[in-house]
């Protein structure tokens, strides 16, 4: 399953002109608000008619303006998970879930409702109406409703943006399960780097209606020149394995031979994870630091230094764990005498590694 998108459209404040081909898995459209993400998703869904373009899912065309082909939204076989859920208030959870199922061709009903209900943990609320559900519960039902329509492609437009942090942490694992257990490709819109790091198989970074970067999450998030969500979103994404849960509340991770400690996470020993290390949480030192409270220290070689327009710079350090990014001031770069090829030490405060930056296993990337 792959997704091919080419779009041109005039919006009041910008010109949308982009194209990308996405591999199977989760494709994240990443960019700040107003970059055109939602326009792209709505064009794929058929809710917005672009001036020109073509969208195909696995070779099956949803529209092609050159051929004059335009499938109406209800014939596109999509599952759209909206930011605000958009559950039908007059129907029960059970009826909401089966709404899309009525219309799926009999032969295409791949998903087993009982399995989906169990996966999303919504079995106890089937007879309730959406008004009686919490934000997180509503969004789980919305995921189930989209999935049970047996779509060829799932669209998710900032599905977590309306939720608080606790609810986000509750819902994200369901998207990971969707990615790992269901074979439907997902086009996922967000402006949150943490969600990109956890979910993305590939990332399409948008800015002012154009694609500025397209690639694996670790590449796109590490590139401050695109930094779609601002320099604060820059960070390294590392592949790690859970080694040990210590009695003092820390979890030890193996990152390419190096050891990292972070506050206890619920994952099993031996599990493969990806973890995002925000660049602004990393401190650099040109000597091995001593007498420091930070537990995580990685020795490496400076790979590149990119100075931005402001006083800051992003230093990329090659370590055994993978490239680590540090956001420091240009003054510090000069004071430490950092330049490509120098040996340096990257220090990461244990508590700076937030659980929402830790994602479940990922097959690709």
């Amino acid at each position: 399953m792959s997704l091919s998108v080419r779009l041109q459209h005039e919006l009041p404040d910008m010109q949308l002109d982009l194209s990308f081909d996405a591999p199977p898995g989760v494709t994240v459209l990443f960019g700040r608000s107003g970059s055109g993400k939602t326009t792209v998703v709505n064009a794929v869904a058929g809710l917005l008619r672009p001036a020109a373009g073509r969208v195909a899912v696995d070779g099956w065309e949803l529209f092609d303006t050159e051929q004059g082909l335009w499938l109406p939204p209800h014939r596109r076989r999509l599952g759209y998970i909206f930011q605000e859920g958009r559950l039908f208030p007059h129907l029960t959870v059970r009826q909401n879930l089966s709404y899309g199922r009525w219309f799926a061709p009999k032969g295409a009903r791949r998903e087993n409702p009982d399995k989906v209900i169990e996966m999303l943990g919504i079995g106890h609320m089937l007879n309730r109406r959406p008004a009686g559900l919490s934000g997180g519960e509503k969004q789980r039902v919305a995921i189930g409703r989209a999935l049970l329509a047996s779509p060829r492609l799932i669209l998710a437009d900032e599905p977590l943006a309306a939720l608080d942090d606790a609810r986000k942490a509750e819902i994200l694992p369901y998207f990971e399960r969707l990615r790992d257990e269901v074979s439907v490709p997902i086009l996922y819109v967000t402006h949150a780097a943490a969600e990109v790091a956890r979910l993305a198989t590939s990332v399409v970074a948008l800015q002012d209606g154009k694609v500025v970067r397209h690639g694996p999450a670790s590449d796109v998030l590490a590139d401050p020149s695109v930094a779609p969500a601002g320099v604060r979103a820059v960070g390294a994404v590392l592949q790690v394995k859970v080694c040990e849960h210590h009695a003092d509340g820390l979890t030890e991770l193996d990152a390419g031979g190096a050891r990292l400690f972070l506050p206890r996470i619920p994952h099993q020993i031996g599990e493969d994870l990806r973890i995002r290390i925000p660049a602004q949480e990393v401190i650099l030192s040109n000597k091995r630091p001593e007498g420091l409270s930070a537990l995580n220290m990685l020795e490496g070689v400076v790979d590149s230094i990119r100075a931005g327009e402001g006083p800051g710079a992003i230093v990329s350090v090659k370590t055994p764990a993978g490239p680590i990014l540090a956001r420091v001031t240009r003054r510090s770069v000069a004071a430490l005498g950092l330049e490509p090829g120098c040996v340096c030490f990257a220090v990461i405060k244990t508590v700076a590694l937030a659980p929402q930056d830790v994602g479940g296993r990922l097959n690709a990337s």
Partner: protein, 230 residues
Amino acid sequence: MGWLGPAELEALRLSLRVSFWATLVTLPFGIFVAYALARWRFPGRQLLNGLVHLPLILPPVVTGYLLLLTFGIQGPLGKLLAELGIVVAFRWTGAALAAGIMAFPLMVRAIRLSIEAVDPKLEQAGATLGASRLFVFATVTLPMILPGVIAGAILAFAKAMGEFGATITFVSNIPGQTQTLPSAVYAFLQVPGGENAATRLVVVSIIIAMGALLLSEYVGRRAAERVSGS
């Protein structure tokens, strides 16, 4: 209803029949026009809006006269319908037509308000799940506007029960045929000693009007509770 005389009873029965059919037949048109006005942008939308509201602002006697010119035996539509064997002039069906047209604006206004309150995003959600426009309307929009539709229908029924000016101009005041409740009240007041009969019909009118109002409040509230999901 032993306290009503035969003529009064006849007028009441006729009025109920006229109003029932006037409401039932106009309801689908009312929903359609309300939907078109609320959701579609098309040339002539303001004109349609004006036409729908015309009976509300014109003197009823003018509406009745226009009906007579159009649907009377000599009128263009009247002739056409007569060839199909349908005569509305001076028949109870004509009274229903007049009542329906006079009640139409009220019905459309109530339904249109409820359609405008439905978030189009829910209809979009239905479409992305595979439902055609008609199906989205039947399964999402219609259930959600049900309180408005019921309120509109009951309002139209009450208005039809009270319609007088257009009816008497269009189909006259023939006992047993076109003499509805208000026409009967009017007729009783024209003859000496008719005050008692008129008063009895006035009481009946008040009971029906109040009953309709309470019923619409009750049904509307029940439907709203169901739709909002609480």
